[in-house]
């Protein structure tokens, strides 16, 4: 007779054994709820929305026609007012992404290579602090700061630089009666609001770069500029790509900031909001929301083509 060392098997014990011996089963049970959520509620409703972009509104009755057609996309792409909206939004998203990248990189670089322990925690706090307050509060605060009688114009006046502010406001298209009602002001608020979303992924990629790589590069004769181009930048690119997808897509989809700050021209987010709400043209709203998806997909293909993910 063989003697086993096992204590008596209770139910819980048997369940544990079952899961231990069949790890696939446990994984399956853990993944089913999130997959259902992702598949049905999240992706399902998204596809449903996209499906509507292939339907159309009967111009006469205002009724939805459940018939496959590309008419809505034709309307979107041939009406100058609509293409203006798309171009305006994409240009703003590009400008905001570029500005966020330029501001975020030095901050992330400094945090990754020159801070440790408590100092780094403090910097994390500083970066994340704005996210603790309401988005709306920050947007309206942005408008007040940029207003005609706001802090910024006061500051320019104190520095005897009012002429500079006036010159900025006189720029065609970008300018306006005040910063708060110009595209330039909108750009400033967008950049401010989305900055943390650029800093954090950048920091994540830079934190993984050992300092010794930078020293090795210098040791092998590379001047700081070469080290940046050949070592730091290629290793930071996945973070830049991730961060830029955040800032780019968040700007493409936002409908609050263009309403609160800047000139009255519409943005994609606003069009989606208006078309499915007040205008009741769900197919056009759906077609508008396809635009960011297409733009982001093209952008991802482009960065992959450029070898951005080789270092992953």
């Amino acid at each position: 007779m063989t003697q086993t060392l096992r204590p008596p098997r209770g139910l819980w014990r048997r369940v544990s054994d079952l899961f231990y011996l069949h790890p696939g089963l446990l994984l399956f049970l853990l993944l089913v709820p999130p997959m259902l959520w992702m598949g049905i509620i999240y992706l399902g409703s998204l596809f449903n929305l996209l499906l509507y972009s292939f339907y159309s509104i009967n111009g006469f009755t205002g009724q939805l026609e459940y018939r496959f057609t590309l008419d809505t996309f034709k309307t979107l792409l041939t009406t100058p007012a609509n293409t203006d909206i798309v171009i305006r939004t994409v240009l703003m998203a590009l400008a905001v992404t570029l500005a966020c990248g330029l501001i975020a990189f030095p901050i992330a670089f400094y945090m990754a290579f020159y801070t440790r322990g408590n100092t780094r925690t403090l910097w994390y706090m500083l970066v994340l602090l704005p996210l603790w307050s309401s988005y709306l509060v920050r947007v309206y605060a942005g408008r007040l700061i940029l207003a005609q009688e706001g802090v910024v114009s006061w500051f320019f006046a104190q520095l005897h630089l009012s002429w500079l502010l006036d010159a900025i406001l006189k720029t065609p298209v970008l300018g306006g009666p005040s910063l708060a009602s110009s595209y330039f002001g909108m750009f400033v608020v967008f950049t401010y609001i989305w900055l943390p979303y650029m800093i954090l992924p950048l920091l994540a990629s830079l934190e993984r770069v050992p300092k010794s790589l930078i020293q090795a590069s210098a040791d092998l004769g590379a001047r700081p500029g070469q080290t940046f181009r050949r070592v730091i930048w290629p290793l930071a690119v996945p973070g830049v790509a991730a961060g830029s997808i955040f800032t780019f897509s968040l700007t493409l989809g936002d409908y609050i900031i263009p309403q609160v700050v800047g000139q009255p021209g519409f943005f994609i987010g606003q069009m989606v909001y208006i078309q499915q709400g007040t205008a009741g043209n769900i197919p056009l709203a759906a077609a508008f929301s396809v635009v960011p998806i297409v733009v982001i997909t093209l952008y991802l293909l482009l960065v992959r083509r450029l070898g951005a993910f080789d270092a992953l």
Binding site: A218, D219, L220, R223
Partner: protein, 339 residues
């Protein structure tokens, strides 16, 4: 002999710690020079100062007759093999090795040809297109070596390059490194905490302790004539005897375990001690005996015998008077800087 590196009163202070404390030394051209010491002894900081990765707080670094104290790493004719190898993860092995040529603007075909030659030298042909992450530790180590040597530097700094390798591989690499150094004629400065490694490869060794050099000597000089208790204990192992010894005067003396003879029984006399065998460690070719004598414990190391004495036996230890090495006082710990 030509001087490759000269350190003059070199000091490096981090916060309130003197990592390197008024170090003076000269490394000659073509020499295999080791810096040996426990962690925190300042040996790595000293190497990093020579490489240009840290700035000295005071003192001077002279490289090949030129003051290099304030030169950035890329302006020094020195290359480094880093402890973690620091290979560029986004480049192939070939591009890693060719990096130094690339930043100098050598055309692609030419630098790849020369990088291929370097890989041949370190026996890694066929690995050109792999990524560093696809290599074993020993292979990465060789890539790091090839990359540092491609510029044909006059001085190569190695920061515990074999630390991450297993014993067998480490011994192989020690032999290869030494052979490479001889054939290339480059000055090597080698940082290690492994005294065996330092002794077997080096022409001269500087033993670091508390940011200062305790002793600078040939491997044989260090082992046979340790000048302080720290060196005697750190390089090999040593029995430290204290007191008045016949013919040698008063003081502290180091006695290597293998210079202690051990016989069974009690036979007192001059340069002898009678004790009781505490413990016997069989090490294969040798056997180590721990003996309790009056006032302390003495270790003896002897070739293994067929018959091993049992613990508890009474034994007599003896040695030649010439085996006793008088010791001077070492460097006291100085964690606080007096700036």
């Amino acid at each position: 002999m030509q001087t490759a590196v000269q350190l003059i009163n070199l000091t490096c202070i981090f916060g309130n710690v003197r990592a390197v404390d008024r170090v003076n030394l000269e490394v000659y051209s073509g020499e295999f020079f080791s810096m040996l010491g426990p962690s925190g002894s300042g040996k790595t900081t000293c190497l990093r100062l020579i490489g240009g990765f840290e700035a000295p707080s005071s003192g001077q670094i002279v490289l090949f007759g030129q003051d290099a104290s304030r030169l950035p790493p890329y302006a020094r004719d020195v290359n480094t093999v880093f402890q973690d190898y620091a290979l560029f993860p986004h480049m192939s092995v070939l591009d890693n090795v060719a990096y130094a040529l690339m930043v100098r603007g050598v055309p692609r075909a030419e630098r790849h040809r020369r990088a291929g030659e370097m890989l041949e030298l370190v026996k890694l042909s066929g690995m050109e297109h792999r990524r560093p992450s696809q290599l074993s530790g020993g292979q990465r180590q060789r890539v790091a070596l090839a990359r540092a040597l491609i510029n044909q530097p006059r001085l190569l700094l190695l920061d515990e390059p074999l630390g991450a390798l297993d014993l067998k591989l480490r011994e192989e690499m020690q032999i290869e490194l030494k052979a490479l150094q001889r054939s290339l004629g480059i000055t090597f400065i080698y940082v290690t905490h492994d005294q065996g490694e330092a002794l077997s490869m080096s022409d001269r060794v500087a033993v670091f302790n508390h940011g200062q050099i305790e002793q600078l000597d040939t491997p044989k000089g260090l082992y046979e004539h340790p000048q302080t208790e720290f060196v005697a204990r750190f390089v090999g192992s040593a029995n430290i005897l204290e007191g008045r010894l016949i013919g040698l005067g008063e003081g502290r003396f180091a006695l290597r375990p293998e210079r202690v003879r051990l016989v069974a029984g009690s036979e007192p006399g001059a340069h002898r001690l009678v004790g009781r065998l505490l413990d016997v460690h069989y090490l294969g070719s040798q056997t180590r005996y721990e003996v309790q004598v009056e006032g302390g414990r003495i270790t003896a190391l002897a070739p293994s015998q067929e018959e091993i004495l049992p613990a508890g036996s009474v034994v007599t230890l003896s040695w030649d008077a010439t085996s006793l090495r008088p010791l001077a006082d070492g460097i006291p710990a100085r964690p606080e800087a007096s700036v």
